[in-house]
């Protein structure tokens, strides 16, 4: 009789130790990663949100002042901000669409065996591995009307050199071309990975039924590709929303403000004017744009 409580105690201790092992230990292992994640992701996110409600010029030496929504009101009244939003949306819309079309077309075209197919496919991916700043600098020189490779071709064709980075509209086209060149292989990579796993049966059935190529693409390939398209577009849109270094080195937002997309607008306010509160509020608008895009596209994906 007297042994029973002892056993219960032992069992209870074992239970507690098991509970600790199962419930707490995993968090112990996870904690370094959680701490790092908190430090580099959560803290800046929360701090910049806090900052966006304050007026703080970092170089003035004055303490930050709580101004609640003043920064947001100021930016919504700012013509330059709306101009940057407009440019950002056009930049993302145009470049991601072109990249998707080229990536998908090339993936469909190369989805067969041919001589050195693996080498060709690997080489096509190269631009995606080039750093944006390097690509931007290379394009800046290639666009140069005097020494640039692109204008050398233009002149060989008998035309006058084109001052790509000097004209407001051309400069915008020039940054889109750079982005498309560098990032279409990313779309290709995802599309090709998806296409190469498609089952053959639906295609054989369609052929027997007498469907033409367009019908096969529209009714079989595209629906099968949709989940991959959504993922690829989400990743690319998020990436294009934070495009910065390549445009900074190519045009620095010029001529005028014709290529000052949101990331450059944020940078200018934060690191040229040291207006940290205001630029934090613009950053949050960029975060909201990214969230709206992602939620919309993810919701669409669940509909499939």
């Amino acid at each position: 009789m007297s042994k029973l409580p002892k056993k219960t105690e032992e069992t209870s201790f074992k239970r507690k130790s098991l509970w600790f092992k199962n419930k707490i230990t995993p968090y112990g292992f996870l904690s370094p990663a959680l701490l790092i994640l908190g430090g580099v992701l959560l803290f800046p996110l929360i701090y910049s949100f806090f900052l966006s409600f304050h007026e703080w010029n970092m170089a003035s030496g004055e303490a930050m002042k709580f101004t609640f929504l003043d920064n947001y009101i100021k930016l919504f009244k700012s013509e330059s901000f709306w101009h940057s939003v407009q440019l950002q949306l056009i930049f993302v819309g145009v470049s991601v669409s072109i990249e998707l079309i080229i990536g998908m077309a090339v993936a469909l075209f190369l989805n067969k065996d041919f001589f050195a197919d693996k080498i060709v496919r690997a080489l096509l991916l190269l631009p995606a591995f080039i750093l944006p700043v390097v690509s931007g600098l290379a394009f800046r020189f290639m666009y140069n009307p005097q020494y640039g490779a692109i204008n050398w071709f233009v002149q060989k064709l008998g035309f006058a050199p084109i001052p790509f980075l000097s004209h407001p509209r051309l400069a915008f086209v020039a940054i889109v071309i750079q982005d498309v060149w560098r990032m279409w292989p990313f779309m290709f990579m995802i599309m090709y990975a998806s296409i190469s796993t498609f089952p053959k049966a639906p295609y054989e059935a369609a052929e027997i039924a007498g469907a033409n190529r367009w019908q096969i693409f529209k009714h079989i390939t595209l629906p099968l590709l949709k989940p991959s398209i959504v993922i690829a577009v989400i990743l690319r849109v998020l990436n294009a929303l934070k495009a910065f270094s390549e445009i900074y080195v190519m045009t620095n937002g010029g001529p005028g403000n014709s290529t000052t997309i949101l990331s450059l607008f944020i940078y200018k306010n934060a690191f040229d004017f040291y207006d940290m509160g205001f630029s934090a509020s613009v950053s949050y608008i960029l975060v909201i744009i990214a969230l709206v895009f992602s939620i919309f596209l993810v919701k669409r994906q669940f509909d499939f």
Partner: protein, 442 residues
């Protein structure tokens, strides 16, 4: 006789004691080397700072101070400086500040008058040896905030070999009715540039600075002052004369007609490329870059260039300054050693050595040295451009970066043809007035 002997003896005694004291005091200085002292220096990156990095071991040997130099491109330097100053880390013991940023960060620096006397080196640098324009550039609210170290000013640079060519001289006189010479005014600059411009041979009369940056702002300010107007006065009133600004822009468009094809997106790399490959007659250039133009290993224009005070416009001659000042942050923990380093950099003796390594000096005694002037022919023009009449400082105003951004944006809009000059100038003026108003309300 005895009296004379006594006087002689007294004199000898004084001489002896005096010599003993002098020798003794210098030996004290030599023995007062620093121990375990390290300073961190943040400077801009060009031929000037490269020369200092090359010769800094001499300072280290002399003083026992270890120097770590971080050199960065101007914009990155300013950002890094801002982060360190405002967070008062004291990481940097001495920083180089570009002229337009002196007002913005002035409160973080100790005044030059409060800099400590040197412990090892002979003397503190006397600011009288620095051209007044450079001292003004390093000052804010009647205080000199550091030691101006780079008497930097935009200088007119042109090909003298073409001006001296007899065939060209004859042809020019026939066409324009006056002697071919180094342009004295803006009309001559355009006419000579136009005369030498040859699109087929890719030879251009003028290299503009138009890529959206501080460089474009500086170019426009030079232009405005040459046409007799400016953005704002010392009382922070926006005083831009729109008519004069429009006239200046019309003239600039003429210069663009004789410029290289990349004329609307030109910055330093494009100008250097054109000048050093012999495709260019003239431009405005900074002294540190000129050293490269005169290097025969890289430049076909080496030895063919002349330098003069900037050609005068209807409003006179103007030259924008870009003086770098060495400043000691309040948060520095090694102010004494930091000051010692600045005195070494600014001294005449080390200056002579640094000049050989590519430094562009700020001392008048170096700039006026006949031997150095012979070797570095732009020194004279540099002195002229730094004189009170010609030197133009950018607005002394903590919110200057915002003003500069508006100026480069509207300048770019006009020259790229996306906006009419008058409308652009009116709009720019209004925006700058708003920036000033906002600043004053604060």
């Amino acid at each position: 006789m005895l009296k004379k002997k006594n006087i002689a003896l007294t004199l000898v005694l004084f001489l002896f004691i005096g010599s003993f004291l002098i020798v003794n005091s210098s030996s004290i200085k030599a023995n007062e080397k620093y121990e375990d002292t390290e300073i961190r220096v943040l400077v801009w990156r060009d031929a000037h700072s490269k020369a200092v990095k090359e010769k800094v071991h001499e300072f280290e040997e002399k003083t026992g101070i270890d120097v770590i130099i971080d050199d960065l491109p101007t914009q990155s330097l300013t950002q890094k400086m801002a982060m360190n100053l405002t967070s008062e880390t004291g990481k940097y013991d001495i920083v180089a500040v570009d002229e337009p940023y002196v007002p913005k960060f002035a409160s973080y620096f100790i005044n030059y008058s409060e800099w400590p006397q040197p412990k090892v080196l002979a003397d503190k640098v006397d600011l009288n040896v620095v051209p007044q324009g450079a001292v003004d550039a390093g000052s804010w609210q009647n205080n000199v905030k550091g030691l101006p170290i780079n008497a930097n000013v935009y200088m007119f640079t042109y090909r003298k070999d073409l001006i001296n060519d007899t065939d060209l001289q004859n042809k020019f006189k026939e066409e324009y009715g006056y002697e071919l010479q180094g342009p004295k005014d803006l009309d001559q600059l355009y006419e000579i540039g136009k005369f030498l411009y040859n699109e087929k041979d890719q030879f251009y009369g003028w290299a503009p600075f138009t890529v959206k940056s501080e460089g474009a702002t500086v170019e426009f300010m030079w232009l405005l002052r040459s046409f007799g107007t400016k953005i704002m006065n010392d009382d922070l009133e926006v005083v831009l004369d729109v008519d004069k600004a429009v006239e200046a822009l019309a003239y600039y468009n003429k210069l663009l007609e004789i410029s290289p094809p990349s004329k609307l997106s030109m910055g330093h790399p494009e100008t250097i490329q054109n000048m050093e490959s012999g495709n260019l007659f003239s431009t405005l250039q900074w002294p540190a870059i000129i050293a490269g133009h005169e290097n025969p290993e890289n430049s076909v224009a080496a030895g063919k260039l002349a330098y003069s005070a900037n050609p005068a416009g209807p409003g006179g001659a103007a030259a924008i300054t870009g003086v770098w000042t060495l400043a000691i942050p309040e948060a520095s923990k090694n102010k004494q050693a930091a000051a010692e380093f600045a005195y070494w950099w600014g001294s005449k003796d080390s200056g002579k050595e640094l000049v050989k390594a590519g430094m562009s000096p700020m001392r008048k005694d170096l700039l006026e040295d006949p031997e150095l002037q012979k070797r570095y022919p732009w020194y004279q023009a540099l002195m002229e451009n730094l004189s009170g009449d010609i030197a133009v400082h950018r607005p002394r105003f903590p919110e200057y970066p915002k003003v500069s951004d508006e100026i480069s944006t509207y300048f770019s809009r006009v020259i790229s043809g996306s906006m009419e000059a008058e409308a652009a100038m009116e709009e720019m003026k209004e925006k700058i007035e708003n920036i000033v108003k906002e600043y004053k309300n604060e």
